[in-house]
């Protein structure tokens, strides 16, 4: 336990540190002795070298997901990409219909955008996932209507890490001439993506989930067959009119480098994450009343979402001050509502409340995993000792049959 540094970070799905190699590339585009020009300045050398950097980054992002660099539109992050994809396509194709299909476990950036479109007169079907977190293709097919214009299903879920079958969903959508958008913020660099084979029309990416900087993302917009979107931010006409605003050269260069590293190291890294994840899982799974949330097979290597029955999630997080984990996604974690994702896969409020999401990343060590197993076990045991519900459970009382007196 010589060089174990506390607190330990297990929240790589919320955000990642910038890889030192990425930071190094970014500094080249920031300060005065470097390439700080505005890439839209076509008229001078400062602008040109910034433009070159952006072309390079566009190529690097495209290479990871095997698409044409011209299909990449820079945005300020995956939230904006999701907004642009969904509103942009819905507005552009509204003459073809006003029905959209998505899933209840999507990120808020997708769900809130769909809610907004409902206020504008669109109809949205929110599919229920199966208890393993995956979308049933038959249920999806059953939801198709003549006026369905768009399906938005995320590739990897941010809370439970399950991987949807976007290949099959894409085929279904294409057969029915429906545009298919995929939020890939949590999958790029973690799962193989080949856009030359997938029937995906729009795909959202983020840099800060794979060791790039915050504040930069991209939207893939298919060229063949051509997909059109209505711009959501106007002025300047950057990104072929699809997204205006000065491009942040250092951020884009950083995202490119992060994607380049991901392409090179993803497979080796996944093998390592899987070993660490399984070590953590094996260390916890024999405790009483623990439940893994989401499918264990169709799941990214670095995610373990696990509920400890009879323990209150917030107290557990408080008791685990030495590790940084989340219960529910970061964006909603300031609220005390149980995770809507866990509710959607059929978990009770109690189990949803007592969930922890561990996400493992580039800097996680075996030592950290072992330390954490001990820490979690101790904290759960201690909290259960204080819990009258736990006592009742141990005495064999079926808590569901208990009629609680009103306060």
């Amino acid at each position: 336990m010589s060089d174990l540094k506390l607190p330990i970070y297990f929240d790589y799905s919320a955000t990642t540190p910038v890889d030192a190699r990425v930071a190094e590339v970014m500094t080249h585009y920031l300060t005065v002795d470097s390439h700080f020009g505005n890439p839209a300045s076509r008229s001078h050398a400062f602008g040109w070298s910034a433009d070159e950097a952006i072309d390079t980054a566009r190529g690097q992002v495209a290479a990871l997901v095997n698409c044409d660099p011209r299909e990449i539109v820079w945005t300020s992050g995956a939230t904006e990409s999701n907004n642009l994809a969904i509103k942009g396509a819905a507005h552009f194709y509204q003459k073809n219909g006003k029905h959209i299909i998505t899933c209840k476990t999507e990120h808020k950036a997708v769900l809130d955008t769909c809610r907004q479109l409902e206020r504008e007169g669109y109809e949205v079907t929110y599919l229920d996932p199966e208890t393993n977190g995956l979308v049933d293709l038959n249920k999806l097919k059953a939801a198709f209507r003549d006026d369905t214009i768009l399906v938005s299903i995320m590739h990897v879920n941010n809370e439970i890490g399950v991987i949807q079958d976007i290949q099959a969903i894409g085929e279904l959508c294409r057969e029915n001439k429906i545009i298919f958008h995929v939020d890939a913020a949590q999958s790029a660099g973690k799962v193989d993506i080949d856009l030359s084979k997938l029937k995906v029309d729009l795909m959202s990416f983020s840099a800060h989930k794979i060791y790039g900087p915050k504040g930069i993302g991209a939207l893939y917009v298919r060229r063949k067959p051509r997909i059109r979107i209505e711009a959501q931010m106007h002025g300047g006409g950057h990104e072929r009119g699809m997204r205006s605003g000065t491009l942040a050269t250092h951020q884009i260069a950083g995202m490119g480098e992060a994607f380049r590293i991901a392409k090179e190291e993803m497979h080796a890294e996944n093998a390592r994450f899987l070993a660490l994840r399984n070590r953590l899982y094996n260390g916890l799974k024999d405790m009483e009343e623990v439940y893994v949330n989401g499918d264990m097979d169709h799941r990214i290597a670095g995610n373990l979402n696990i509920s400890f029955n009879f323990v209150e999630g917030e107290s557990l997080i408080m008791a685990l001050k030495d590790i940084a984990v989340s219960s529910g996604s970061a964006c909603t974690s300031a609220s005390l509502e149980p995770s809507y994702v866990l509710r959607a896969i059929g978990r009770s409020d109690e189990l949803a409340h007592s969930s922890l999401r561990f996400t493992i990343g580039r800097y996680t060590t075996e030592e950290e995993i072992d330390y954490t197993i001990g820490l979690v076990k101790k904290a759960v045991d201690k909290l259960r000792d204080l819990s009258p519900l736990w006592d009742m459970f141990k005495d064999g009382i079926d808590l569901n049959s208990v009629e609680w007196a009103a306060h």
């Binding site: 008229s43 300020s76 997708v110 959501q232 931010m233 002025g235």
Partner: protein
């Protein structure tokens, strides 16, 4: 740098990593607020000036019944384009008139505005000519016609060059950007007075009090905050430095035959000179200057892929041919007086080539 590799939490996370970044975010909010004379809780961080302008216009109008808006014709495209988008939705769009120096004509504003005018947008300082508007006066005139009108100003070019106070000017909305202030690209803010019911344009996650979702670009925002703080401290010194250079350049240009210096009779930003040389197309001139090592621009960087004459100069009634020759020189604290002398020399050489 520490916010990229060292302090890397997501500001929305409840754990220690998240808390540290949240504190940094709030500190930056205070720094930006102090720089622009606003309260910290009036600052909404965005991905830059373009997004701030889009949010200001669409966010305050999309939930209102159709009426009319008035916008100056010399605005940046990221104000003009959203304004046109509103016009497409059925809003009446009135373009204000500017005089030959590029200043909004007050009488015209007064006669254009009606009780139906919900929104006025006039930039604080123009990005091409550098001309300054008398915002306090324009706000007063607008509110005298319709006390409920929202007055927005794009202050992206103003920030860090001259002091500006959101509160004192009586503005309702103001857009600012980091990278024109020696801060990093990728961060900006919309300053919003508390009485406005703004409709968010990017949804999901509920950051920035629900007004702008998406994980905050922390490193850029912290850089923005620090740049804003430095600007407040060093603005005066920087202003004196660039103003001297500006004066030196204008003095050398103004008497040259065939040279037009734009907005020379008006109050301008201390760092900008826009001029045109008769007989040489702006694009050509700047390619020549670039070959000799001078990076200048023909106008707005965003429009520089195009060769149309500047909409700003045309609005001022400048002749097409003269407008086509326009180049913009803008100074920073790294420029020197010797560079100006060299620039004038090189310009003379180029003019000789073209004669």
């Amino acid at each position: 740098m520490p916010y990229m590799t060292g302090i890397y939490g997501n500001p929305s996370s409840v754990h220690r990593f998240g808390r540290l970044t949240r504190d940094a975010l709030e500190q930056a909010r205070v720094q930006v607020a102090q720089c622009v004379g606003a309260e910290a809780n009036q600052v909404i961080f965005t991905s830059g000036g373009t997004e701030a302008n889009n949010l200001a216009i669409k966010g305050s109008l999309l939930n209102q019944a159709l009426a009319s808006i008035a916008v100056s014709p010399i605005e940046h495209a990221c104000v003009l384009e959203p304004a046109k988008a509103m016009a497409k939705l059925g809003w009446k769009l009135d373009l204000l008139v500017v005089d030959d120096q590029g200043r909004v004509v007050t009488d015209h504003l007064k006669s254009t505005m009606t009780a139906e005018t919900r929104f006025v947008s006039v930039m604080a300082a123009n990005n091409e000519t550098g001309v300054l508007q008398d915002l306090a006066h324009l706000v007063e005139v607008s509110k005298s016609v319709n006390p409920d009108v929202l007055f927005h100003s794009d202050a992206c070019q103003m920030l860090g060059k001259l002091p500006i106070s959101f509160k004192q000017l009586g503005l309702d909305l103001m857009s600012v950007s980091s990278h024109k202030l020696y801060g990093p690209q990728g961060a900006g803010a919309l300053i919003v007075s508390r009485s406005i019911d703004l409709q968010p344009q990017i949804l999901g996650g509920g950051q920035e009090k629900g007004l702008r979702s998406g994980t905050e670009n922390l490193a850029a925002i912290v850089g923005f905050g620090r740049a804003a703080e430095l600007a407040t401290e060093t603005q005066q010194a920087r202003k004196e430095h660039v103003q001297k250079l500006q004066q030196q350049l204008v003095d050398s240009l103004i008497d040259q035959p065939g040279v037009t210096v734009f907005s020379s009779q008006a109050e301008r930003l201390p760092n900008t000179v826009q001029f045109s040389v008769q007989g040489i197309d702006g694009e050509t001139l700047l390619m020549q200057l670039d070959r000799k090592g001078f990076a200048v621009s023909s106008g707005s960087a965003c429009d520089s892929g195009r060769t149309d004459p500047s909409h700003v100069l045309l609005a001022m009634g400048i002749d097409d041919m003269i407008a086509k020759g326009a180049i913009r020189v803008s100074f920073g604290e790294q420029n020197t007086s010797e560079q100006i002398v060299q620039f004038i020399d090189v310009l003379a050489q180029i003019r000789q080539q073209f004669n």
